[in-house]
């Protein structure tokens, strides 16, 4: 198999992001970061494909320099290479310029059979980037996949659809986004981690290397704009706590369930 390129995003853990209703700003400073779960699943699928069919697994990410360490974690999981697309001008991008930057880099890497991404990122939760990258590369797409097999030069992918799943086949380079949890991602290998940190050279490409003008990337190249943030008010539920010992609680629960069945 030729190159397998995996699009990886680093995201803050949602539960650590604090919203300040007064300033309407998000405080991400205390948030711990991690590789997006679905992307970790994608890395694992890539590694398994390589173990069977050969080729190289290349991680690709657009983001600030702090992403470097997380990409190295991916290298310690077993990826062959990692490239970070980082430039001041790339900041504030919505999906359109993000897809443009990533697809430009993918074309520069070249020689690929498969692009993998996560089904969606937990912070933005758009799930639309994979389709946009595929469009820019003019390759077919298969989204929400739970299994990817390479057989006789063809890719066989199982993807989720409403109420079930489909098995599809395509040949030639293809973009596949994978479901979080489709496979269990392996842990970074300790020896490889040492190498990833001290021996491995992570490539960083900026807008000059990608030959992208400032106007088409980042905030300037974005087509959508966040006008404001609003705290979602919790639902107006009764929140009545039922006290007592297990016996009393379960009696009350049984009653509640029976009452409600008669309504």
């Amino acid at each position: 198999m030729r190159n397998i390129i995996v699009c990886v995003k680093v995201v803050p853990k949602a539960e650590n992001v604090i919203f300040d209703p007064a300033t309407k700003r998000l405080d991400r400073s205390k948030a711990e970061n991690q590789i997006n779960d679905a992307d970790k699943t994608a890395i694992e699928i890539a590694l398994r494909l390589r173990e069977k069919n050969g080729g190289k697994v290349i991680l690709l990410s657009m983001g600030p320099p702090l992403f470097e360490n997380y990409l190295k974690l991916g290298v310690a999981m077993g990826a062959d290479d990692a490239i970070l697309l980082s430039d001041r001008n790339f900041g504030g991008a919505d999906t359109y310029p993000t897809a443009l930057v990533l697809s430009t880099a993918i074309t520069k890497i070249g020689d690929y059979d498969l692009i993998l991404a996560g089904e969606e990122s937990s912070d933005a939760a758009l799930g639309q980037l994979p389709g946009q990258i595929a469009e820019f590369l003019d390759i077919p797409q298969v989204l929400f996949a739970s299994s990817v097999k390479f057989e006789g030069g063809k890719l066989r992918v199982r993807r989720r659809i409403k109420g079930g799943h489909e098995t599809v086949e395509t040949s030639g380079p293809v973009m596949v986004s994978v479901e979080m949890g489709a496979v269990q991602p392996r842990f970074p290998n300790f020896e490889k981690m040492k190498w990833a940190v001290s021996g491995f050279h992570l490539k960083i490409w900026n807008s000059t290397e990608l030959n992208l003008r400032e106007e088409v990337t980042g905030l300037k190249g974005s087509l959508t704009l966040v006008k404001g943030l609003i705290e979602i008010t919790p639902s107006k539920r009764k929140r009545v706590f039922i006290d007592g010992n297990v016996e009393e609680k379960s009696s009350r629960l049984a009653e509640l369930l029976k009452e409600r069945s008669l309504e």
Partner: protein, 324 residues
């Protein structure tokens, strides 16, 4: 010239229209009424007449039927092509698509080809004074809603989360029907469907009473089934349980599963992530059991029981068996 039209892509399975498409039609009709816009439903394939009529009754002023046998089944290559051609010649102000698997598969790529902005999973849509659509989308696990606009490009595109808006039905509503036969003889479908498996399991969105088990239920899920049987309820789960294959994915509740509209829902051992709670928002009474007093699920519940599910469930079963 951009037309003051709100377009809705109608997703259907044979003669059955997806609820989310009808919900978007309903919402669009409300927005259109107060702003001098009109609503167009886009139907693809060769459906029975009833489908087109229903699209009008549920809110469209006009239906454009992209009529071709090959469009009866969703295909990314074909759908993106025919919709791109139609939209770039008709120039509607907005295009809305249900955030279903097919809808999301379609929207990203179509937006890129149209070179326009796309918002995902809207849970709120309004039009501001300038006639700009403002899409509300949940962010960061749903604690926050971001308001997103697309100022410079057209159409303004968004996918819309199923179960968000209400359907509006008007039996006597009249509308125009325009048939277009797209030229797709040379378009290849690069992704070939070899096999399709639809689980004929219970449609959770129609469940009247549901018992939902989460990670806190522990290894033995049979007690949940037992409790469901005793109370004539259906069973749902949180995503981790579907991921582990304890029950089929079709029983998953939440943003990547189904939204419940049950009269009563009993929630067992669930932490209350927004990805989950968005799926129980429309339930009548919500009753929860969780071992952790501080569990977020209690903020989304009418009756809250702090306790160990492995003790509570068998005790409730005993009570029900004894008395029913």
């Amino acid at each position: 010239m951009i037309k003051k039209e709100l377009w809705v892509v109608v997703e259907r399975d044979g003669s059955e229209i997806e609820d989310v498409s009808l919900e978007i039609l309903g919402k669009s009709a409300v927005i259109a009424k107060s702003s001098g816009y009109s609503v167009t439903g886009i139907v693809l394939g060769t459906p029975e007449d009833g489908v087109v009529r229903d699209v009008i009754r549920y809110g469209a002023d006009r239906v454009i039927l992209l009529k071709h046998e090959r469009l009866n089944q969703y295909s990314n290559d074909l759908y993106v092509k025919v919709l791109y051609d139609l939209i770039s010649s008709e120039l509607p102000a907005a295009l809305l698509v249900g955030a279903t698997y097919y809808g999301r598969d379609l929207a990203g790529r179509l937006a890129a080809r149209l070179r326009t902005g796309l918002t995902a999973n809207a849970i709120n849509i309004k039009m501001d004074e300038k006639g700009l659509l403002v899409f509300g989308v949940p962010a960061y696990g749903g604690k926050i809603m971001a308001e997103i606009v697309c100022e410079t490009a057209r159409p303004q595109m968004s996918t819309v989360r199923p179960g968000t808006f209400s359907k509006v039905f008007d039996q006597g509503k009249k509308g125009k029907i325009v048939e277009v036969v797209p030229e797709i003889s040379k378009v290849q479908d690069r992704v070939k469907v070899i096999d399709r498996k639809i689980n004929k399991s219970k449609d959770l969105t129609k469940s009247e009473k549901t018992i939902v088990g989460g990670n806190g239920v522990g290894g033995d899920f049979s007690l949940v089934w037992k409790l469901a049987e005793l109370t004539h309820s259906d069973v749902g789960v949180t995503r981790p349980l579907a991921d582990k294959g304890i029950v089929p994915r079709e029983l998953q509740v939440g943003t990547t599963g189904y939204s419940l509209k049950s009269k009563v829902a009993l929630i067992l051992g669930v932490s209350g992530s927004e990805h989950f709670t968005s799926g129980i928002r429309d339930c009548g009474t919500v009753i929860s059991v969780d071992i952790d007093k501080g569990s977020e699920i209690f903020n989304h519940s009418d009756y809250c029981v702090v306790g160990d599910a492995s003790e509570i469930i068998p005790a409730v079963i005993k009570k029900l068996e004894g008395k029913i």
